[in-house]
Amino acid sequence: MDLGPHAGFILASYAFTALVMGALVLNAVRDRRAQARALRGFEALRGSGEGRR
């Protein structure tokens, strides 16, 4: 596909969008994992009886 003389601008636009969206998704997944890990930690604490002592 020939994008003409402004191919650089077109490809840069799509690349930047992919980069920002990728960062947004990765950050969301990383954040979710951190919260899930912390919640599992509390559940393990409760399971071991520490939380009731």
Binding site: M1, F16, N27, R32, Q35, A38, F42
Partner: protein, 266 residues
């Protein structure tokens, strides 16, 4: 409004119910977003013809316009949530607001950068201090301010009220963004989709654009739902951390001070 929709709304917006229904809905929504995005990209790259004036550069519009729409859409959603926080103090309202801010900021940034990359070959410049461009830049700065404010306050309830007020003040910018191209003489073209008399874009480009707008809206909503669920989890972690710290504190007092010395120890 009858009581049935109100009770349904109350039930759906209860945090526990929200975690249940959103957990089921999110994967389906993500799959649907992916499919619509694939279709949109196919139409934008292989079906839509080059524009008679812009040439192939028109393909930037298939990401620029959806990004602009979502930048404004998420701010509108945040303003509604801000009313929910200030008037009803609904726990999910500030969760929704906090989760939306980084997503709205990201789409606004994409809109600004792709617009700039389109502007250079078409207008001969990356940037002009035109009313539409400036009001979009202001929207991005407001988003950044909101994200920063959330991060500076430890207590989410205090932060929610401050952010809600800032959000509502910033909402003044939304009609300015929309009507700037009519109120002032701008380099940015006037509305070409949402206008009296219908869209001015040729159907061969309009339909791919509408599919891309739908894909971006579905994708943005999926991300928002996902981020809201994470935010609910973060608040649970915070509550459990405080409870655990209080328990440890109470245990330390019990160990270090005999019961009759407690008043002096405290």
């Amino acid at each position: 409004m009858s009581s049935a929709p109100i009770s349904l709304w109350t039930r759906l917006s209860n945090p526990s119910h929200f975690m249940r229904w959103s957990g089921t809905l999110a994967p389906w929504l993500a799959g649907l977003s992916g499919l619509v995005l694939a279709l949109g990209l196919y139409l934008a790259w292989f079906v839509a013809p080059p524009d008679y004036q812009q040439g192939e550069t028109v393909r930037i519009m298939f990401i620029h316009v959806p990004a602009a729409w979502l930048g404004v859409f998420f701010y509108g959603a945040m303003s509604l949530s801000a009313v929910g926080t200030l008037v009803w103090r609904h726990p999910l309202a500030d969760v929704a607001q906090r989760a939306a801010a980084p997503i709205g900021a990201a789409f606004t940034l994409i809109c600004l950068v792709t617009g700039s990359l389109w502007g250079k070959p078409m207008w001969g410049t990356y940037w002009v201090w035109d009313a539409r461009l400036t009001s979009m830049l202001l929207l991005f700065l407001i988003y950044c301010g909101i994200v920063a404010l959330w991060r500076t306050m430890e207590d989410p309830n205090r932060a929610a009220r401050a952010v809600a007020i800032l959000t509502l003040v910033g909402a003044v910018n939304l009609p300015i963004i929309k009507f700037s191209v009519n109120w002032w003489s701008t380099l940015h073209q006037p509305a070409s989709i949402l206008r009296m008399g219908g869209p001015t874009i040729d159907p061969s480009m309009l339909y791919p654009l509408l599919v891309m707008i739908l894909a971006a809206t579905l994708g943005g909503t999926t991300l928002h739902l996902y981020a809201m669920r994470t935010e609910v989890m973060r608040r649970r972690v915070r509550t459990l951390t405080i409870r655990e710290a209080e328990r440890l504190d109470a245990g330390r007092v019990a160990v270090t001070a005999p019961p009759d010395a407690l008043p002096q120890a405290l």
